[in-house]
């Protein structure tokens, strides 16, 4: 089987627990992301989602394991992997426009200033920021606008992989909805590969091609990979009427509600802990047979 575009292999992270021992956040996490795929990772706080994100961004070092992108090992931050941080991470002394050009200049060093600015304006316009607004400083923008600038900065760089670290976590529900739509729109036009962290189940179903479910830490692992069998383009109001929507949603709720806890610390004999693929079609759940031991999923269907 050829390796996926992004291949995370046996990633393990241990931290000293402050009492002389070590705390294993996750162990042997293994999963892949295909090119152009939108993958969302769901799990409770403390299961190491953000740590995985930092390792993918190159900002953190795993204790062991490797991340391969396009066949090369990820070892440090790179322009090929754009990051949208939860707290926007805009530079407060630069205007919205300058924040975007700040990201474009190192990516395309031979572009003229005019070309850089035009490119930045195009991407700001895609997230609905046009006119004088682009000259405002982040402190003069609302939370939603700031995150729009941050998203524009990331997309404008055409990274091979876009990492979104709970990008809507700090926004109110209404703003979140509009920006999710904008994200879908901008993503649909670029075929960008996206890896995103979220706490929000509905957001995950709306955006993702595939959802990775993590068990609780310590010794967390990526337990399941749930395919979202709802055709695109999706809108928030229409997907809820799709017959698969609630079946998928219930599966996710049950996982996060019970099984993530039950499976916590459960170490599988097969140390290649590839997530079990799950495909839910018309309310009937069909676990895809894998080489690994079959897991009992009965509880979910009740």
């Amino acid at each position: 089987m050829p390796k996926p575009f992004l291949s995370v292999e046996r990633l393990t992270q241990r931290f000293p627990d402050g009492q002389g021992g070590t705390l294993t956040v996750f162990e042997n996490a293994t999963f892949g992301v295909e090119k152009g795929e939108f993958v969302v990772i769901l799990g409770h706080s403390g299961c190491g989602k953000s740590t995985i994100m930092n390792i993918l961004a190159g900002l953190g070092q795993p204790t062991s394991g490797v991340v391969l992108m396009d066949g090369y090992e990820v070892s440090g931050p790179s322009l090929d992997r754009g990051v949208v941080f939860q707290n926007y991470s805009l530079l407060p002394w630069l205007s919205a426009l300058k924040n975007v050009t700040f990201g474009i200049k190192p990516r395309y060093p031979d572009w003229s200033a005019a070309k850089v600015e035009a490119h930045a304006r195009t991407f700001l316009a895609m997230v609905g920021l046009e006119g004088d607004v682009v000259h405002r400083k982040p402190s003069q923008l609302s939370g939603g606008m700031r995150q729009r600038v941050s998203i524009a900065r990331a997309f404008a760089n055409h990274p091979k992989l876009l990492l979104l670290d709970e990008p809507f976590g700090a926004l109110d529900a209404l703003t979140r909805g509009t920006i999710q739509d904008e994200l879908l729109k901008i993503w649909g036009g670029t075929e960008q590969t996206v890896f995103m962290i979220t706490h929000d189940i509905d957001e995950a179903i709306l955006l993702a091609d595939r959802i990775l479910l993590m068990t609780n830490g310590p010794f967390a692992r990526v337990a399941e990979s749930v395919e979202i069998t709802i055709p695109r383009p999706r809108t928030r109001t229409e997907i809820v009427d799709h017959p698969n929507y609630y079946a998928i949603r219930n599966h996710l709720v049950h996982f996060l509600g019970h099984r993530s806890q039950k499976m916590a610390g459960e170490r599988v004999g097969d140390d290649n802990q590839r997530p079990e693929p799950v495909r839910i079609e018309n309310s009937v759940q069909k676990p895809i047979p894998t080489s690994g031991p079959a897991r009992d999923l009965k509880a979910v269907n009740q």
Binding site: L59, P77, L79, F85, N87, L91, W93
Partner: protein
């Protein structure tokens, strides 16, 4: 009254306080007795001579007018215009100050970036910082063998600490997110330093620079009283030796005004680099 803005009302109050203050000062100075009222004994013992005393504000004002209408005259080593004296002082302060900035800001950057450098240099900073700058004067005079350069050295040594400490503090406190933004955009260390860390730490650094210039201006007066020759500090002491209290009061006012101007220049700079998060 209600139609005036708060600023105007405050300005009116300031003027009122000034006028009342000067009036009380003026009236509290005992008048010189006229020669005719003196007894023969008083005349014989020199009672007719003008007595040295605190001058009234009207005299200070006349003195100020006289000095400021010709600030750059030079009539020998003991008689130079106020403009020349202040010019010498500002020259010394700025020379010492910028030498300090050239060392303190890069060093502060280093200390702020590296915790090893911070830990290694911290004991030295903590011991050297509380030393009164004038305590260095004898050593400086002996080693440098030049009073002018020694005064500049004293300014240098007193300006360096607030700038060094604030730069280190500002650089160390730059939000990790902003540094991560630089890292994910593959900025070179130099571009990260100038494009992200410097603007992020600039408000703290400029605050340190503002504290330093204030201290430098305080110290130059004392330093010039010691080294003598030129400068506003020397001028104050020289006029005291001449028992010309009018000039002493006038120069005290000038020290205040120049200090205020230096401070507000850095206040403007501070506003230019400030940002809201």
């Amino acid at each position: 009254m209600d139609t005036l803005s708060e600023g105007k009302r405050a300005a009116l109050l300031s003027i009122l306080i000034l006028v009342v203050g000067c009036l009380i000062w003026e009236l509290s100075i005992p008048a010189q007795k006229a020669v005719g009222e003196l007894t023969e004994y008083e005349r014989l013992t020199g009672g007719g001579q003008p007595k040295a005393g605190v001058p009234p504000p009207s005299q200070v004002l006349v003195k100020a007018w006289e000095q400021l209408s010709n600030p750059f005259y030079d009539a020998g080593p003991n008689d130079k215009g106020i403009g020349i004296q202040i010019g010498y002082s500002i020259y010394r302060v700025l020379t010492g100050y910028f030498l300090a900035a050239i060392i303190a800001i890069p060093l502060g950057f280093l200390i702020g970036m590296s915790s090893i450098a911070y830990k290694a240099l911290n004991p030295f900073i903590q011991v050297l910082r509380p030393i009164s700058p004038l305590a260095w004067m004898p050593l400086a005079l002996f080693i440098i063998q030049d009073s002018e350069a020694s005064a500049i050295f004293v300014i240098f040594i007193c300006s360096i600490w607030p700038m060094l400490i604030n730069t280190a503090f500002g650089v160390a406190g730059v939000r990790e997110d902003w540094v991560n933004v630089a890292r994910t955009h593959e900025l070179s260390p130099l571009k990260t330093a100038f494009g992200v860390i410097l603007p992020a730490a600039a408000p703290t650094i400029v605050t340190g620079m503002r504290i330093s210039i204030g201290i430098a201006w305080l110290v130059i007066v004392a330093a010039e009283m010691l080294v003598g020759g030129t400068g506003i500090g020397y001028y104050v002491w020289n006029e005291w030796n001449n028992l010309d209290l009018t000039s002493v009061i006038f120069s005290i006012l000038m020290i205040g005004i120049v200090g205020m101007l230096l401070d507000s220049a850095f206040g403007l700079l501070q506003r230019a680099v400030a940002y809201a998060e």
